[in-house]
Symmetry: C2
């Protein structure tokens, strides 16, 4: 291979698996693989697993350190990306671990890290659905609601990278209790967890709902209400309320950041147009200054399984 | 005077007056003055008034264009600062007016413009209460609620400068009607207008309230409830609710942007500690990740009457 450094190692560090791959600056993936995280081995043990995965990936493509610009790692939790520090991570059970320094020592390669939602935001903006834009905000609708902000093609993370907690913005003062301790956060209405809670509540309140075809409450997923919304009023009401509250949060973000595009990621996005079309209508109607100001396009993340890997690579671009 | 360019003309363009001054890069004001806006003369007439004020100010200090880096102008309304365009301004009755180009032609000096709340944010950060920080958010509590965001010492304005509408973020979904057409915006709870509305409502609901000492409802100001809060339950309840809702908005902003400091400006800030102390307590308690993350300091704007002038100068720094 050429001696010109032109490859990047991307690592998606999760609680169960470490996924990794090698890509070039255009997002072409040469190889990818995954290994168990083994968080029971402690932070240094996990760092060793990351380093070994990176080395194995390079070996499998006959690349050496001299071909590689650096390693990017997406980590769940509160990350101080400037310091390369995992301030704390529930998923990994880490506090104040300088993972960048550790992996640098083990691999001899420079390392950049960022929170996983931030990584997804920069990845989708460089390589995915947002690649025609330089200013985007990503919102992930999963177990929680995460956020990532890209300004002029770079991540904006706030002081000590503690910003972009877009799920922890109250939209219903005094409303549903959020995991963060506040009441009425966007996350408490727009996460898959909230959607499942509201679906179960609707079923309990309507014993004749078609949604009971799923059998029991424990079979309810984030899909259930959407699946029955066309034929069941209780299901429709759950979906309508979900979209209304998410619409409030998205419009807030549009007014505050006025990005060119807002990107939706996470499991709930599998709903596609039945989610995006009504949300875009709310946004267009409610955005500050209406048609007089620049419009904001709503997109669905499209990197899928490669999002973590390519996002981690994008930390270097 | 030296030929080295080291002075700046700052202009604060209001609906009634154009205030202007000359300052150096340290914020020392050499001279300042004001002239009537005369918006009835149309956009070009106002631009001529701005240009003449700038020329007169320079003349009064025996400065020529060769001493001046540029002119900064703070303008109320939706401003595209890159294009130098007032997209629209209710106060001035302008739409799509390229004021920068016009004033440049008339003065022979380069011109930068920005929205007045953004100008206040950069001014307080460069010269005022926020000068030890590089990352701040300013919220003005006046007739409306405005916002300005400073990231790494530069204004962040969003696409076409249409962002930072921090007053138009819903905190009570379905709540009080806002001037922007949405329901439950921060502005509909935290503006002086909202405070006066709530004070009047409380007086109407409590005919024995001490607040009636002001005489009649039309004498109510943004001070009334604060003036009586120590001795009147209805007044206290207005103040408590005002602070609670503003606390929600401030904590949202802290979680989203995680600035080093949030600066409060506008008339309501005259309340000083009785406003800031309880708000700081809410923020410290409710901020995401509590004490584990970086803290956010709440400050009160301190440039007073010079805020507009110095902020406009700061557009060049």
């Amino acid at each position: 291979m050429s001696n010109l450094k032109k490859y990047y190692v991307g690592i998606d560090l999760g609680g169960t698996f470490i996924k990794g791959g090698i890509a070039d600056a255009e997002g072409n993936i040469l190889v990818n693989d995954k290994v168990p995280t083994e968080s029971e081995k402690g932070a240094k043990g996990v760092a060793l697993n990351i380093a070994n995965l990176a080395k194995d990936l390079l070996k499998s493509c006959s690349l050496s350190n001299s071909d590689v610009v650096g390693i990017g790692i997406g980590v769940p939790g509160m990350i101080d990306s400037k310091k390369g520090e995992v301030v704390y991570s529930n998923n990994l059970g880490w506090e104040h671990f300088f993972v960048s320094e550790e992996v640098e020592k083990l691999t001899g390669l420079p390392v950049k890290i960022a929170n996983d939602a931030n990584v997804a935001a920069i990845g989708e903006t460089k390589f995915g659905c947002g690649k025609e834009y330089e200013n985007t905000v990503l919102i992930t609708l999963g177990t929680g609601v995460g956020g990532g902000i890209v300004i002029d093609g770079k991540l904006f993370e706030g002081n000590c990278s503690a910003g972009a907690e877009l799920g922890h913005s109250v939209i219903v003062a005094g409303g549903e209790l959020c995991t963060c301790g506040r009441k009425g956060c966007l996350e408490a209405y727009a996460s898959a967890t909230a959607l499942i809670r509201d679906t179960k509540r609707a079923m309990q309140a309507d014993k004749k709902s078609k949604m009971w075809e799923v059998g029991a409450l424990e079979n309810v997923t984030g899909k259930t209400a959407f699946d029955y919304a066309d034929n069941d009023l209780s299901a429709k009401s759950v979906v309508d309320n979900y979209i209304e509250k998410l619409g409030v949060g998205i419009t807030n973000i549009a007014n505050e950041f006025r990005p060119q595009a807002i990107i939706l990621g996470g499991g709930v996005c599998a709903q596609g147009d039945s989610l995006v079309k009504p949300l875009q209508a709310i946004l267009d109607k409610e955005i500050f200054a209406g048609k007089k100001g620049p419009q904001v396009k709503l997109l669905i993340a499209n990197l899928g399984n490669s999002a973590g890997l390519l996002g981690a690579v994008a930390l270097w671009l």
